[in-house]
Symmetry: D2
């Protein structure tokens, strides 16, 4: 496990602009996520929007097994060429974990092919995440549910493909539910969407959230299966 | 649509024993369900546990396209031979819709192969059903959610196979969620589990619940696909 | 059923350039597909790449319940704005049926989010399509398999999301297999990919192929479920 | 990985009766399977039908993380109480890998809830297994396909629930296809069905087959998720 290399990407804009966010995440949202994954034994790097190539050069991705994506107010500022590059990497086997408001990121919409639409409400209500697939490795070490005292609400219907595995469903105090932990296989790669993580709440310090992310990295890490290539096999394998 | 033949099966025990249930369902739970489906244009019959062969003779099933199953306190009194018969019919193409506490019926556990375990609480709290697959025919004509003012609570994790399509997720006022509308293909047949319908609440008079059941009958009705047989094909189709 | 309105879209380039294709499809590939669907009772229109807006104006799509897409050598000539328009329509509920080499069309790659990669071989070998989901409505009226004497081969691994329902798997004489009938739900819409239909073979006159397409149109037709919108629900449904 | 404890169960009847089988599997089919898994670093035990409690006492299962099941001609001789015991264990988290003719075993039919029906032909034709989910951990280290020169044929439609992940599809020289590597989650447990392994062919010595089984053991091993219990939660989590 220790050999899995994680890149935590964060647009890093809220931290520059909003004191409330700085206070909760003095090292940035990416810093808090990275800290949790380092504790879990992974080799972790971080990158942000403002860096050259958003910190996601070919060389950087070459060293990345699993990419984590947090973004919210600057989706449009992400260079299309970088999105294309990440997309190709994921189809080629790099794991992708998209967090919270990343549901509207270019990369998530590109790889899902759907709208990513949802309902939301920002009053800091309680979220309770229920495990609905107790056998899934991402539920490893968890109780049947865990709570986040204050979170933004996301509500169904959520514009995503049916998950290949649905691991969590969230309950919100204000009356909604949400498929908050979703797994997909995409070509040679694996994608996990995890709902919690609004910038004004200390969600990424929560032990259960950190456990989920650590489990998700392990699940999403590349395996060495066959390549999905386009090829003209002129010769049949069998004599017709 | 009018040609689909529905059999509504109800163990019919609460109605004999509990005045509160009689008051809510003077024609029996099966009577209320049947009424709704008749209004939707189906040809509906009913049967109960106390009838010979529980009203589910081979002849009766031969005339049944979709079987609806409500049961709660008398699962053990259902004859194993009848369960076997129904199981075979479903695998052969007859639709099966299992309601509420039917999650612990012999037929549901037999065809699912899992425990059917869940949490429950009977304080008459509010249930809100959210559509999570807006494209599915069982969500036809519905808004994004509907409410039942008073219902028994069922909570996750629910011991079922991952649904082939998940249509509804329920929110409960007391803090739980539940996969409350689940579709499965099983051999030549289709199975739908629908959560609501506690015997002391007028759930089966609710217009949205009736719409769901009418949609589910149409979805579960037999199609004329190939049989899944066991056969020794001695001769290869191709020259090797 | 007769009220379902189908638009058969064909790039229509082979027919202009290759005499062999003209001979097999004198009315165009779209003509043969349309003929089969008209016989099945649908209201059918056709459109091709060379028309203004490729024949897919907002007005035309407004009158379309299910869009069928055949394309091969001119994917790049399809206007991105039209692809965007079709994509939005599908997410909004319009059915989409993508045929054969349409696996590399812009619309298919956009809505799948994957590569669409596959192997191929063009020697006119035999394809045999096996039903693997006997309960699915798209298998209605079919035997357990059917054959096409001459087809192009497509081989796995195929770069698609795991189908929400897999209906057909193809066997090829030369040694490959292929998931040749795949269903997906996408937001409010339904998508079906069907493999057969190389331009030099009379595939779209085949009675089984026509039955599959007629079934697929019925399955993919819009249902009237809830919209998947993005919305800020400022007020909680419940008192917190 | 080395800590995963595997129990290889084989009815062990062919080996007693048929010289041809003894010749191919002098240590029994279980012996060959066990050898491959030991080489992969697992702690492996074996058990057979003739042992007391078929070698599957509560104590033995308590020491088992993943159970492998090979059976063919003696399904009926397996004690129902043992089947019940294994079923409970799988639902509680023990991995189950069912091989070849185990599709008709009591435990497989019990946990699947379907017929297990299929077509077959025993002329020793060629089987070619294609990977259709290149991202799945069970495809780790494999090329896009591998071949078995001589195998029994199994053909679709196969009476199983839609797999939660479909990893392999087989091509047979005689003209059939088969979903030959299928994954399911069931309560807290994981189930993998793998098709190859007729008793008269040296399939379980094949390096690719051994790799698949080693991968499948790792995938199916228990994870420490929540229990799926039945519980009356009298007190709501929230104040209503």
């Amino acid at each position: 496990m220790s050999s899995i290399r994680v890149m935590v990407w964060n647009e890093g804009q809220h931290e520059k602009k909003h004191e409330a966010v700085q206070k909760v995440y003095p090292q940035g949202i990416h810093g808090a996520i990275a800290e949790g994954l380092q504790e879990a034994g992974y080799a972790v790097q971080t990158a942000t929007l403002d860096q050259p190539e958003h910190g996601l050069s070919e060389a950087a991705l070459e060293q990345t097994d699993v990419l984590i994506w947090w973004a919210h107010i600057a989706h449009d500022q992400v260079d299309d060429a970088i999105v294309e590059r990440v997309h190709k990497r994921v189809l080629g086997g790099m794991g992708l974990i998209v967090l919270h408001s990343g549901h509207f990121s270019k990369i998530f919409k590109r790889i899902m092919g759907t709208s990513g639409n949802l309902k939301w409400r920002e009053i800091g209500e309680k979220e309770r995440l229920w495990v609905v697939n107790a056998a899934h490795p991402i539920a490893d070490g968890l109780d049947d549910h865990f709570e986040l005292q204050h979170e933004e609400m996301y509500g169904e219907p959520f514009g995503i493909p049916e998950p290949d595995s649905l691991v969590f469903v969230s309950w919100f105090a204000g009356g909604e539910v949400f498929r908050s932990g979703c797994c997909w296989y995409r070509d040679q790669g694996k994608v996990f969407y995890f709902r919690p993580g609004h910038e004004t709440y200390p969600t990424y310090y929560d032990p259960n959230v950190r456990k989920v992310l650590a489990n998700a990295v392990r699940w999403a890490a590349p395996t060495n299966g066959p390549k999905i290539t386009v090829a003209n096999r002129r010769e049949p394998l069998e004599t017709l």
